[in-house]
Point group: C2
Chain length 356, copies 2
Amino acid sequence: MPPASRVTIRDVAEHAGVSVATVSKVLNERYGVAAATYARVRAVIEELGYEASLVAQSLRNHRTNVIGVLVADLEPFSTELLKGAADAIRGSGFELVVYSAGGRTGDREGWERRYLSRLSGTLVDGAILVTPAVAHAGLTGTPVVAVDPHTGPTEVPTIDSDSLRGGQLATEHLLSLGHKQIAMLTGRADLRSAQLRETGFRRALGAAGLAVREEFVVPGGYDAVVSARSARELLSRPDRPTAVFAANDLSAIATVAVARELGLRVPEDLSVVGFDNLPESALCTPPLTTVDQPIRQMGYRAIVMLIGLIGDPEPHDRRGRPAPVVQGQPTHQTLDTKLVVRASTAAVPTTLPSAS
Amino acid sequence: MPPASRVTIRDVAEHAGVSVATVSKVLNERYGVAAATYARVRAVIEELGYEASLVAQSLRNHRTNVIGVLVADLEPFSTELLKGAADAIRGSGFELVVYSAGGRTGDREGWERRYLSRLSGTLVDGAILVTPAVAHAGLTGTPVVAVDPHTGPTEVPTIDSDSLRGGQLATEHLLSLGHKQIAMLTGRADLRSAQLRETGFRRALGAAGLAVREEFVVPGGYDAVVSARSARELLSRPDRPTAVFAANDLSAIATVAVARELGLRVPEDLSVVGFDNLPESALCTPPLTTVDQPIRQMGYRAIVMLIGLIGDPEPHDRRGRPAPVVQGQPTHQTLDTKLVVRASTAAVPTTLPSAS
DNA sequence: ATCGTTGTCGATAACGTTTTCGAAGGTTAG
DNA sequence: CTAACCTTCGAAAACGTTATCGACAACGAT
């Protein structure tokens, strides 16, 4: 019982009276070891409690079996996504490292760039970028998939959801309730999803023959505190809107809080619809009408896609068996969004709230 | 621009006209390299965009700078803890791997055992066990700290919160509101925290001169679905309790849902107090009275303690400087709990609810 | 001149694996 | 009996680092 030094493949080899090469072969189920030897080595492995060093294997194999997830912060969206990723990782033979930048939103870009570059010669076989800010220019050959990517054209494999349609659904719902003065809290300006939700909003209004009042589309930044600030201004106006579409649930919840604080009842005096369908949005008061986005699914798909991109290690000589070559799955996936109506929206009051 | 093969320390050495030994020295800021050489090598590193291979370093140094967090599932508690851990990890030079067993609660013990054994010869320098089920018998010399550990005596360094006092606080709060028929949904039987919350409950009742009705303490398992089942039975009784103390917020929220479903109003007909103070417990309807447990803090402290246990790598020859030896910090920490009163509890109705 | 001393640097042996490739022995075919 | 093959195995070269330790030069002091 040597508690100090780890038991290595050499120890196993000596105890079994074979070479390390042979031990390695039985470990990897390679062809060319006699049944008797195989059994003996297996027994010694069991007896010594040997576990191969992942580090040494990685060095030799150029593959760590680790996937990195880069999130700016562990807010509800990332958290939910992480669950899906964890589901997908299970049994895949990969591990999950979580890189979180943490509170400081200022140097988000710098932080991402730094990690992206480190990513080159380092721990992970591939990475998932959650709501990334950077264009990830000149990446290092390490496979990457982005979830809800930044705006602008990108060659990076991507998972997102149908934000355009989602934005339309939300807005149409409000319109169908009779609302005409509808405001929007937009999302993080650098993300494509935010842009699309806003276009969805504008299109729906346009289709209904309504002009958008630019002073009614205010920044929310996918963030609770900036949303609260904008909501306060918006709802303090004498000609305040009767409904607001928030670009995500965090913003919507913040809006509800501000409304309550200003003495407005939701949904009687103000309808609010969010976007995301976080678990907490069903719990809050009132339960939030929102656009469902299959976040866990997105995390799951992202991992699956990434693993596909990483590919199998060369099957080598294990008695023939040509590599299956499963290439060719699509490199962009957009998942469906749908409206879920709960209690934060209601028909516009017949008596207009003091507007003209 | 060779996009294929990574740039290695040898490349840098050649470009700079020095040996790999020298490059390694400048990388690690070792003593004994001339200023001119240092600058030249640094320049080449920059130019080539060289990043040292963490894998090779790990192999050589016997240290991976990775910390593992083992969670059974990514429920709110683990998630919150993870945030604290992520905060603490930042700038520490370590990375965080998350191992999640996932839904399947059946083989929890088997899963833990498996990972614990793998942990021996593997990726991480240390690990954090969140609500572990196993005694982690004969661990491998890898430092480990447990958060909210299993019952029974344990030598493992531990972080938890004062569940005993928390249980008492919750119960005393209900008592002070005039409740006499108080039920409890217990937690996961294998966890010390669950046991202590129950003792706190019993002690408080005892101190108030009330006998505990054993049919009122029912299993909740820290789990929403088993709690819901127990709550349904409990609240269907003709002599149902007027208040219930749930061992965690998940159970409390489930109880509220069941109550609503049975036509009981919370808090008018039934008071509910939880335990954890999850973020969502402030959002739900009604906002939950609960015992606050500083979960993020616990995650933070766990990482700090673990890093302390791992210790600095030998400082070697970087020009003297004896190792500081920061040993001796306590190996068990119990954080304070406190009651936060919100809207799910109220005074017991003066007219008894049809009981004798 | 000679002898330490000091300052720089590089060859090299690890770290724990996996894979190649050739050697040794056994079997079968001619 | 020889040639060809197949099976089983081990020696050794990688993989990309870091630490040791000796070589070598320059220099001041005797």
